[in-house]
């Protein structure tokens, strides 16, 4: 199943980001229950699960957007508390959120650099270096092969796929050590999807970036991921290497809605569960 050009990850690669026993609820809704996730250096981890299973909540805890009700986060071996996504970003954790977190009223290039703007000193004060940001945004987007007319235009004029490309480009080019992608391919065309997946592999291979990927298309998972975590009603019910499980088994497991791994011999159970 493993793609030929993805190196097999050694089991003793150091853990770069870890969440242990994290719970999170919103009022009466419990989104995460005692969740523990480990991410190793240079690893691509897939997070799968039904709609509303808690995938986005999980990655928002790792990105500093949500504070966990209980449990801890460990980054590069030391316990850490994120007060805001700003803290997570300065730890090298970059996230493409499901809602993309783009600012519709700002230009594409301002969106690419918001939160880490380039500035230059003038009259003793620091002003935005728009020229530099414009140039770099153009360069990034063209190396990504994205068809975007003009980096000066505001983001609210872009198509859904173009927006997603801008959000992905922003995170990829922020030199992250951990990259979290929440359904980054949802709005992308076939060509653009392939391109982004290619970049994911390249980032891992060349810079040992660790990546968490939420995708609903399982063939894409088996193309690029080392490990799969299956989140079911806020709990991690499966943690398996992609080499230990087949695409068919994964599909059947998730489809059954039972929240446990179904091997081929469990076929009748799976059938019974599907109405």
């Amino acid at each position: 199943m493993q793609n030929m050009n993805t190196p097999r990850l050694s089991d003793d690669a150091p853990v770069v980001l870890e969440m242990s026993h994290v719970s999170k609820s919103f009022g009466a809704v419990t989104a995460l229950v005692d969740v523990s996730v480990k991410l190793r250096k240079g690893e691509v981890l897939a997070l799968v699960g039904d709609n509303g299973a808690g995938k986005s909540t999980l990655i928002k805890v790792l990105s500093g957007y949500h504070k966990p009700d209980s449990g801890t986060i460990t980054s590069k071996g030391k316990p850490i508390r994120f007060e805001s996504p700003r803290d997570a970003r300065s730890e090298g954790i970059e996230t493409v959120y499901q809602d993309l977190a783009l600012i519709g009223d700002l230009s594409i290039y301002h969106n690419m650099f918001i939160g880490r703007e380039y500035r230059k000193r003038m009259f003793g004060m620091k002003f935005l270096d728009n020229q530099k940001m414009r140039g770099m945004a153009e360069e990034y987007l063209s190396t990504l092969g994205i068809n975007i007319p003009n980096v000066n235009s505001t983001v609210d004029r872009l198509s859904g796929g173009q927006r997603q490309c801008v959000a992905v480009a922003r995170s990829i080019y922020s030199a992250p050590s951990v990259l979290i992608l929440d359904e980054p391919l949802a709005a992308l065309g076939v060509r653009e999807s392939a391109h982004v997946l290619g970049l994911v592999q390249k980032l891992r291979r060349e810079r040992e970036v660790s990546i968490i990927l939420i995708v609903h298309n399982y063939s894409q998972i088996f193309e690029v991921c080392d490990r799969i975590n299956f989140l079911h009603s806020g709990e991690i019910v499966l943690d398996a290497a992609t080499s230990d499980i087949t695409e068919e088994e994964l599909t059947r497991t998730v489809k059954s809605g039972l929240g446990r791994l179904l091997r081929p011999e469990d076929a009748e159970i799976a059938l019974a569960a599907v109405p």
Partner: protein
Amino acid sequence: MGIVSNIKNDPVGALSPAGKRSVGFQRPTTPLDKALTLLSRYREASIAVVAVLLVIYFQIGSDNQFLTSQFLSVVLRDTGRLGLIAIAEVMLMITGEIDLSVSSVFSLAPYSMVLMANSLGVPLPLAAIISLVMGVAVGVLNGVVTVRFRVPSLITTVGTLFLFQGIVVWINDSQPIVAPIQEPFNALFGQNLFQPDDSLLSWHAVTAFTPFLWTLAAVIVIALVLNRTTFGLHTIATGSNIIGAREIGVRTDRIKIYNFMLAGGLAAFAGIINTVQFSSADPQAGSPFLTLQAIAAAVIGGTSLLGGSGTVVGALIGAFVVATLNNGLVMVGAQATVSDIYLGAAILGAMILNVQVNRLRARRRI
């Protein structure tokens, strides 16, 4: 033509449907197109056109009395006062908030300044700085209540409006007090209006316009802050998409509080200039009407009530339009009370024009 350049940019030839009419490749062709493009590219353009038309109308209607130094010093004084408050509202409205308490700060700050100078002997410049800090402190209160306690700013600032207006009226039984004159403080912040026999080359010609010149300086500074600094970028981000801004690490709460502080400071500054101008501190100098006129100036100047976009230059021109209507109508013989009717109609007209220009343009583009 648009399509040709797009194909060049698309080596694989997989044109997305959106790409065909993508922004930035179409050149406006007919004069109407050009005018519409200009009007919509610069949000200040439509209000600037209105301002020019008004000036022409009043200049003709008043037998060339409008464009005289004497009359303009009145119009520009009012423009300056309104403009300072309008740009404060612009910054807040960009973040998606509003401040209705500015008029109470406009009364409170100069009143405290004069009290400090008269009864404690504090030099005016120092008293002015302390009063500015008080205005900023009111902003902190507005901001913290709005952001931390999640009270909508519309309600927060109505509360602080009554609170501080009540306090300033209560201090001295709503008696106005005469402001001391201490040079060069008074000359710096504006003494008197331009008189008919004043020479344009006299020092007075400058001091007569200082309230407006201060506002002009403030507009330039705030415009730079809004368009050229990280703070400005984050201010727009906060109002445009607050969840997205938080996700990407913008400290939206702080940004809002800072903008409330800025509003309080600007309102205090406007009040101080107003008091120096009239040599008197009136506890009722600022009425909520002043705030509403400033908000109107901001909105007809091109600032969105929904947050995410706004222009301080537009707000200044908007303030000029409001001040021109207020003074010009009286000059051409209208009753002072009637001018509000025209003002109301003008606000509605300008807003309809603004919205329609954007829609028309969107339809022709696509």
